[in-house]
């Protein structure tokens, strides 16, 4: 384990930001504002970025394999990757939700017609 003092400033900030993000997401889950299954991607993001910030060799080898001269830039790349991944996931969830919502609305509308018909018959 690398001592915190040995970190460059950017890496220190990254670790702190990850800590804040993790705490925020955790608190939101605890209050029921985010479902557990939607928090998983966030925790995965936080964990990956924290590891890259703390394990400098890993960050460096990642950077060099991508041809990035300034290793902390690789952190941003990883962050962007996760954020895009999460956003696509959201688009999928949104689409699914919308499909379900539409089906539900259609069924309600059709059931209402039947209820009204039955009521008219009963009268």
């Amino acid at each position: 384990m690398i001592a915190l003092a040995g970190l460059q400033r950017i890496e220190l900030i990254a670790v702190l930001a990850c800590g804040v993000l993790a705490a925020t997401v955790f608190e939101l889950v605890r209050r029921g504002k985010i479902k557990e299954k939607y928090s998983l991607l966030w925790f995965l993001t936080v964990a990956s970025l924290s590891i890259l910030s703390l394990k400098r060799e890993w960050l460096h080898s990642l950077a060099s394999s991508f041809g990035i001269y300034y290793p902390p830039s690789a952190l941003f790349l990883a962050l962007i990757f996760f954020v895009i991944f999460i956003l696509i996931h959201f688009s999928m969830v949104l689409t699914k939700l919308m499909n379900q919502n539409q089906k539900l609305a259609q069924r309600v509308a059709l059931l209402e017609v039947e209820v009204l018909r039955e009521q008219n018959k009963a009268r």
């Binding site: 539409q102 609305a105 259609q106 509308a109 059709l110 017609v113």
Partner: protein, 252 residues
């Protein structure tokens, strides 16, 4: 109004053997809907009972109440969901009623209910699954005189896209004036886009082997109110429709 001649259909009694349900999607069409319904009530088809259902897409002007007062069956969507969802809801209703044919007639008065008999006749003689009423099919250059240049160009472009995707020529790809057999209606009930569904539906239908025929019909300009589509929306519409149509071609 006519709408529900079929409500007390007991088998064997007068037995009109077939049921045709007219789906009328309507969004804030209070000024036009009564005229459309009156015309629809005058539609008589051989050996076929006609039922009308208005699908109210969350209108705020009392379209649904008016249609109900006129004695038409109305399906009220709980909020505005788009023309595609309205039509699909109407189709679901029609299938539930046991419809043999489903016709879409827009609530704005553009479509001429008197032409339904022509759609049905062509459906039967050509043994098609779908017949689309086109306002252009009889005109060689696609009716530039009746619209703006931009709209005309967009229409031609969509026709070309559909031709590339289906290998079939359609002159009026965005026409909503269509008749479906029960089998084809089941596809619409299963998958139909929520907004601007007409073009990609052609691609979907042809791709699944349904025979789609286009014929020339009389259409009217809107009597009251503006079309729901403005300039910016038209651009969005155009791009979205082309994308959806292409995706429809390769849909999993």
């Amino acid at each position: 109004m006519s709408a529900s001649t079929g409500q007390n259909l007991s088998p064997g009694f007068e037995s009109p053997s077939r049921l045709l349900v007219v789906v009328v999607p309507a969004y804030n069409e209070k000024t036009n809907i009564a005229g459309v319904l009156a015309e629809l009530s005058a539609v008589r088809l051989e050996r076929t009972t006609v039922e009308v259902v208005v699908v109210d897409d969350g209108s705020t002007d009392g379209t649904a109440e008016l249609a109900r007062r006129l004695g038409t069956e109305v399906v009220c969507l709980p909020f505005n969901m788009g023309i595609g969802m309205s039509v699909q809801t109407g189709v679901l209703y029609a299938l539930k009623r046991g419809a043999d044919f489903v016709v879409q007639v827009d609530g704005d008065g553009q479509h001429v209910p008197g032409e339904i008999s022509k759609l049905l006749a062509v459906l039967e003689t050509t043994r098609s699954d779908v017949v689309v009423g086109s306002r252009f099919a009889r005109k060689r250059r696609g009716g530039l005189e009746s619209t703006t240049l931009a709209r005309w160009l967009a229409g031609r472009a969509l026709a070309m896209v559909v031709r590339l995707l289906t290998g079939q020529r359609f002159s009026d790809t965005t026409s909503g004036f269509r008749i479906y057999t029960r089998r084809a209606a089941q596809l619409v009930a299963h998958s139909y886009s929520d907004d601007y569904p007409e073009v990609e539906a052609l691609v979907a239908l042809v791709r699944r082997g349904f025979q789609v025929t286009e014929i020339g019909v009389q259409m009217r300009r809107r009597i009251h109110g503006k079309s729901s589509i403005g300039a910016w929306k038209s651009i969005y519409y155009f791009i979205k429709v082309i994308l959806s149509s292409c995706i429809e071609k390769v849909r999993a």
